[in-house]
């Protein structure tokens, strides 16, 4: 259609590019603001670029907050959560997919599926009470474990494992391969793309999670990055916008790098659920 009509082509690309600019502009604004002084951020009319680059903002964040620790918390928690969550989804998905004769299989599957729609917010109150009872407020287990068993993840990996022919497993059994070895040496390598997809989604979701860490931590050193930033934003007087923007940039850039590196997997993971589910 483009060759027929050059104007259509130009309009077409102008629209697409405008969309991309709208998508990306706030990021530019965040980075630009992170190098401005506080006075510059709240100056009117606003300037596109900082007058002079204020590297100090980045240094000062570490004085206002234990931001190194906050970054560590976020990465550590997201990594552990991803590892746990994906692993138990893979073993569970394998069980539900390939042991079709096991009594209770349908019941378990239905039970897990039926809870897929339940949002975390609905569980926050009882989970908070549970965490308080076992003394896990301000602890890593409380940040990592509660949402590791996701019906969505189990379902996604089960679907993928369904596609592996049973013959492959039977052949391994005949060769005398144990059940656990079958899982680790045959199934896991085959489902790597799905594991990578689910893993990146889990990592992103957990790294960006706000509601649960907000509830379950109240010491600054246990905050994850979103809670730390929200705390700066929530200050009554003199909100340090320049520090907030520097902190936001520092937390966003690593995630963008991870996204660019794994984008193929993230996109396949998100569309997998839509096309099969």
């Amino acid at each position: 259609m483009f060759k027929k009509d050059n104007i259509t082509t130009i309009v077409f690309y102008i629209l697409l590019i405008t969309g991309v600019i709208i998508s990306l502009f706030p990021f530019f604004w965040m980075i630009s603001s992170s190098f401005k002084t506080l006075a510059e951020i709240s100056a009117y009319p606003p300037g596109l670029f900082p007058d002079s680059i204020m590297w100090n903002n980045y240094v000062d964040v570490f004085d206002t907050l234990p931001y190194g620790r906050n970054l560590f918390n976020s990465f550590f928690v997201a990594f552990m959560y991803t590892f746990f969550g994906v692993f138990i989804s893979a073993t569970g998905g394998y069980a539900l997919s390939k042991y079709r004769e096991a009594p209770g299989r349908k019941l378990f599957f239905a039970l897990i599926l039926s809870t897929m729609m339940i949002p975390m917010q609905v569980l926050a109150i009882p989970l908070y009470i549970l965490m308080a009872q076992v003394g896990w407020i301000n602890s890593y287990p409380a940040l990592i474990l509660p949402f590791a068993a996701q019906g969505f993840g189990l379902f996604m990996l089960k679907q993928y494992i369904d596609g592996i022919p049973d013959d492959l497993i039977e052949a391994a059994r005949i060769d005398g391969c144990g059940e656990f070895r079958i899982f680790f040496q045959i199934i896991l390598p085959v489902i790597k793309p799905a594991v990578a997809a689910l893993g990146t989604i889990y990592f992103m979701n957990n790294y960006n999670l706000f509601f649960w860490p907000l509830i379950v931590t109240n010491k600054t050193i246990m905050y994850t990055v979103p809670v730390a930033i929200a705390q700066l934003q929530g200050q009554q007087f003199g909100i340090p916008l320049h520090h907030i923007m520097a902190a936001a940039t520092m937390s966003t850039v690593p995630l963008i790098i991870i996204f660019l590196y794994f984008q193929k997997y993230i996109i396949s993971g998100i569309t997998m659920g839509a096309l099969k589910g």
Partner: protein, 296 residues
Amino acid sequence: MKIKDTWQEMKENRHFYYFLVPFLLFFSVFMLFPILFSFYMSLHRWGGLGEATFTGLKNYSRILTDSTFHTALYNTTFMWLTSTPLILGFALILAVMLNKKEVKFLKYFRVGYFMPFVTSTVVVGVIFTILLDGSFGLVNFFIESIGFDKIRFLTSTTWSKISIVIVLTWRWVGYNTIIMLAGLQNIPEDLYEAAEIDGGSTLQKFFYITVPMMRPIILFTFILSTIGSFQIFTEPYIMTGGGPMQSSLSVVQYLYNSGFQQFRMGYASALSYVLFAIIFVASYFQIKIGSGEEGI
């Protein structure tokens, strides 16, 4: 005999249980138990310390007459019903555009559109707080430069909800575009080729092939948006704090305030159940309506 057979089968399939146990353990402790415990809590009055008092269904009947809850429900419904058509409409248009075979730089466009979804909601919230600021925000600079008065996006009761809708739309269009693009790529090419032979126009192809074929995907994204809308918390929490005068208070923030600021744990539990019921009913009807015509 029957029991013995089952036992035998369980033994033969014991690895099923070994593999399922880790998931099931976490699932029971952190999902099933809280669901049940939450219901128990919702029948009590409990301030977080000391004994809980059994109050029966009182918490639920109080929700029915709680005007703050009604406000929060209205706000959330408003955000849901205004943002969802915007998000899905933009996403479908973008996906159709990106699905043209001749599009160059598809990969870069896709990454660009997807970027808002990668960022944490808190970061999105703080960026838009300065972009939409009533006195120095860049958006207001544009509005003023085309000859209008500045808008107090975050501090006026009319605009606070709309500001949240703007942010939601910005964040979720790309995500839904990716899903819809994948759906479009799954539509068999021959359908369009057949239509072309029969002399179908672009618009006809869109309404008679694309839309019906995309129906399940659109339904899927609609349900996701609905569930997501009723979980809105971070955007208003960061940008407006639910104000001014509760004009952007969401159901989840009300739940949060009741539970973790006023420590009305029983009442907040009842709110959780109501929230879940709303999400459940809304998605149920969407599935019903969405699949109704095919008679599934």
